[in-house]
Amino acid sequence: MQMLRIEDLHVYYGGIHALKGISLEVPENKIITLIGANGAGKSTTLRAICNQVPAASGKIYFEGEDITGLPTVDIVKKGITLVPEGRRIFSNLTVMENLQMGAYARKDKAGINQDLQKVFDIFPRLKEREWQVAGTLSGGEQQMLAIGRALMSRPRLLMMDEPSLGLAPLLVKEVFRVIMDIHKDGMTILLIEQNATAALHIADYGYVLETGTITLQGPGRELAENEQVKKAYLGKA
């Protein structure tokens, strides 16, 4: 079943035609990745799904329901959570408070505590730093917190915008390991990455975005072998 379906989405962003009619599908329990150069429209796609930027035309369906133009808050409540680019943790709040914010829309105390435990199992470092102000965490820890915070909303679809950006190679590996772990637990993931090699490696299916248009698509491994993709995004001739 298709969890998310985008049909012919157009977005204008600061006077630029940022998305020129893209269509894509995210099936349940899969990792889908969107790769492309800077400014290709990857972040804009995710922001449009959450209605942080308005769609000029086109449709976005989530679990069969048209969510185009719904307020961000309602979209999040339906089960789509975005780990935004640059982490955007609340640096003035403690680690614990950040995680509580992730669960803001939820009322099931028992479930929240259960998920909190789960997040601490995935990221023991966060447990150690539970009462620390988030702004004092290292870059890697902040990324863990951003992912943990997103998980606290118990999303049906987790979208991640460049989770490995600006991290040391060892931490990049760690982030991808975590993404795989979360996925194995049954999470549907839409992933944007500059690190196209790693992203295509773990993705079930990938889309290549070029200046607002999808130019290529296919199973992750196939794309990774594609000559064009290799040349443009994988740094291999």
Binding site: L82, F90, M101, G102, Y104
Partner: protein, 297 residues
């Protein structure tokens, strides 16, 4: 100065400091969340005082009913001002919202003059709340105790709310990042409205206690206390709630002591606050507890 007079001054300064602290919180909370100096905040004192005044005198309600109505209506007014005058300008440049705030302030003041008359009216002090206390040679009003006690209770409540409750955490999150807050399914407008509600209700309590302590009401009564509480908030570090509390007390105490120790300077009482403001802005622009952060572009 004799000990009696000194103690008298201490009592007065704490009372004034309490009132400043209570009102300064409204400025700092609103600034913290939408980066606006809410000039209309000062006039909420006046509105609360007038509602209490009419409740007691015209509608002959018991003081507590009248005070309760004044607090509720003032809170509603504070929230409505945000809804009508600030929210439509959410994505406008900050200066537009500031101008809107000044406009609301002028509107309330002049509406007050037209509708209620510019002449100050004596505020009816409820006998249940205001009586004389005599200890040795010092005599003081019960308000000297009531005002700081009420203030401290409210300050503790606000601190608890902001630190521990879900809404308080959301307020701090929204103050840092609107967009990401909405990604957490936080209704940003609701959180901002709640912030205005808290600030306005504190201003209402402050206004009522102010008009009991200095028992008269007039349509411009909020202007000077408002400016001074704004200074107190800046002094403590605008955006910081403990800062506003400290700033309020420090300013109130300094002001009364200045007049107490140097009566010949009492004419400069109001000027003193502005001198403090200038010094703070020159030497520690972030305030006592504020972070001296570089403005983000």
């Amino acid at each position: 100065m004799s000990l009696d007079v000194f103690l008298q001054n201490v009592a007065n300064s704490i009372t004034l400091g309490s009132l400043y602290a209570l009102i300064a919180i409204g400025y700092t909370m609103v600034y913290g969340i939408i980066r606006l100096i809410n000039f209309a905040h000062a006039d909420l004192l006046m509105v609360a005082a007038y509602i209490a005044f009419y409740g007691i005198l015209v509608f002959t309600l018991p003081w507590y009913v009248s005070f309760a109505i004044a607090i509720v209506l003032t809170t509603l007014l504070g929230v409505s001002i945000e809804r009508v005058a600030y929210r439509p300008l959410r994505s406008a440049p900050r200066i537009s919202v500031l101008i809107s705030a000044i406009g609301v302030s002028f509107l309330l003041e002049n509406l007050g003059i037209v509708a209620l008359g510019a002449r100050p009216k004596p505020f009816p002090r409820p006998e249940d709340l205001v009586w004389n206390i005599q200890i040795g040679n010092i005599s003081f009003l019960s308000l000297t105790i009531i005002i700081p006690v009420v203030t401290i209770i409210l300050l503790i409540m606000v601190t608890y709310m902001v630190k521990k409750t879900k809404m308080g955490i959301a307020m701090r999150a929204v103050s840092r990042d609107f967009e990401t807050s909405s990604l957490m399914a936080v209704d940003v407008n609701k959180v901002i409205a709640a912030t205005f509600a808290v600030g306005s209700s504190l201003a209402a309590v402050g206004g009522i206690m102010w008009s009991m302590q200095y028992p008269q009401v007039d349509p411009l009564m909020g202007v000077f206390p408002g400016l001074k509480c704004f200074i107190a908030a800046v002094m403590g570090g605008i955006g910081s709630i403990p800062g506003a509390m400290i700033g309020g007390f420090v300013l109130g105490i300094c002001e009364v002591m200045l007049v107490g120790f140097m009566p010949e300077l009492s004419g400069y009482r109001d000027a003193f606050a502005f001198v403090v403001l200038i010094l703070i802005l020159l030497f520690r622009p972030g305030g006592i507890l504020g972070e001296n952060v570089v403005e983000k572009v």
